[in-house]
Amino acid sequence: MTVLERQRARAKWQQQEQQSYFGGSEFGGLFLEPSQAVQGNFQGLVGGVDSVLGEVAAVLVKPDLSLESGLPEFGRFELSNMGFGSDALINGSTTGFHINSPTSMTSGCPPTVAAVAPEERGKVSVPAEKKSSVAGRESFKKRKADKVQNTKVGAEEDTKDKKSKVSAEEGESKITTEQTSTKNNSSATNNRETSADTSKENSKASEVQKPDYIHVRARRGQATDSHSLAERVRREKISERMKYLQDLVPGCNKITGKAGMLDEIINYVQSLQRQVEFLSMKLAAVNPRLDFNIEDFFSKELFPACSTGFPTTGMSSEMTNPAYLQFNPVQQLVSCCGLEMGMNTPDMAFRRTMSAPLSLPETYLDTSYITQLQPSSTWDADLQNLLNLEFHQGRSTSYASQQLTGSIEASNLKMEI
């Protein structure tokens, strides 16, 4: 259908426009509950409208609020309709809905939308009052389903549920994708149910995927003023994050309530921090052997034959370096430092420590220190491999300990050379 093609092209153009336009502004996430009148009409809209259009619609929906609030801005109204994939094409099909030239609407959209933005937030509650808007929303969601039946159903749905709410964006994208499956569903009731279900599912989360404005619809039988709505949003945000934390902190599944959860979280964080301190103390004690052992590990593991003999040929640069270093400590230190510096480029804090070794050469011929300065590149990888093994398998290091004892002797030999 040429009309459809045109519509899609327009929607995509709108989208692009919107994105560029809304790039900086806090617009993207908005979507308004379509006005009542619009609602009734959307049902007939578009078979096969992409979710793209839905998104566009969502964004363009903003103007609707102003409409709902009674602003006689027909232009915006039409805009919103456009947004809804208003298939302006379906001008004729929609009852009582006059969308003229969609293209004109879209062009006018962004500026008006911007103006509408501040108004909307206060009017979040407004849509709640309008049943038809609910219906329209759902009908919009269902637009992929039979339009005709939707039109009939739309009116009915108005009365049925006010249950939905939620970020249209989320809801729509989910729903539109779901709707594709129900596209062929001819029964209005089925459509209604699925949309109602999806809207119910989505009603839990009030967070929009496009973050900046959150659209909430009051649920049936709940307060509808903006304050309580905003608070509900806040509460749902908090509960969502608490759920994440519950997954993270072990043993929190049974605990309900913020206070208890917070207690557990605090305990857990404190215990983790204590563990880190304990481990760092341990590492401090072990540290003098840090480079020793690493070098020995490497030598032992990779050059088992050479550990005692120290043949200069066929050995990695590491093994030759000790000899080198002993003869040219200063130069080697500098070169090693250079190597290390090269490796540490990403970390500013570490760079500062680089200056320290340079001042050491004068005072140090300590063999332990010299062995430290072996180029780390070659053995770091292996250390990391070892570390990763430890990480993932958590296996005991008995193997390592054997190597340690053997290698320590080897290193002692080395030192004496």
């Binding site: 964080v269 840090l290 804090a349 570390l387 340690l404």
Partner: protein, 194 residues
């Protein structure tokens, strides 16, 4: 096609308009971020480097590096690994840097918190923030670096990321210690010595 496009658009707009701590959980999921192998590898690499530098730094004075220094180094590496996306990581890096700069001066600000606390006790202050939740929120804010005055939902998000990062840090340091000492280290459970 359409759903993917819309999804893409959603993601793009998400990333463009990210709030400060807004979409951390939704963007790279916290769980996967700190549990991925690559992240662990990166962290352990940097940790080893840092530890060596700490050692080199402390060598001139020929004292073995204290546990505190090592801990600071480990935290710093962790913050770097967080790539500055989270508030606590930025706070750690900022505090370390500023401490280093101001180290000679031993610059310590007076702690207004204590002062007001005392004055509150003396004054017949109406009981604000008595709700247990509020108190715990404050405690949690103090535990997570740089998050004392963060709003509650953001604080929860920061705490989530922080906990995941700490877990990774503990795993890395445990593995390193085991590697070096050649003996398995007792892992402290969450409910151990309390």
């Amino acid at each position: 096609m359409a759903p993917s496009i819309s999804h893409l658009n959603l993601e793009n707009s998400e990333r463009k308009k990210r709030r400060k701590t807004g979409d951390e959980l939704r963007d790279p999921n916290t769980e996967t971020r700190w549990k991925s192998e690559s992240q662990q590898r990166i962290y352990s690499t940097k940790l080893v480097e840092a530890l060596r530098h700490v050692r080199q730094n402390s060598l001139p004075t020929s004292k073995s590096p204290s546990g505190r220094e090592i801990r600071h180094a480990a935290d710093r590496v962790l913050a770097v690994a967080a790539k500055g996306r989270t508030r606590w990581s930025r706070a750690i890096l900022a505090s370390r840097l500023s401490l280093r700069l101001a180290n000679s001066r031993k610059h310590r600000k007076a702690k207004p918190g204590k002062v007001t606390g005392c004055s509150r006790l003396k004054r017949p202050e109406k009981k604000r923030s008595l709700p247990a939740v509020q108190k715990k929120v404050k405690v949690l804010g103090r535990l997570v670096p740089g998050c004392r005055k963060v709003s509650f939902p953001n604080l929860l998000e920061e705490a989530t990321d922080y906990i995941a990062a700490l877990e990774m840090q503990v795993r890395a340091m445990t593995a390193l210690t085991e590697l070096l000492t050649g003996a398995p280290v007792d892992r402290l459970g969450p409910s151990s010595d309390l």
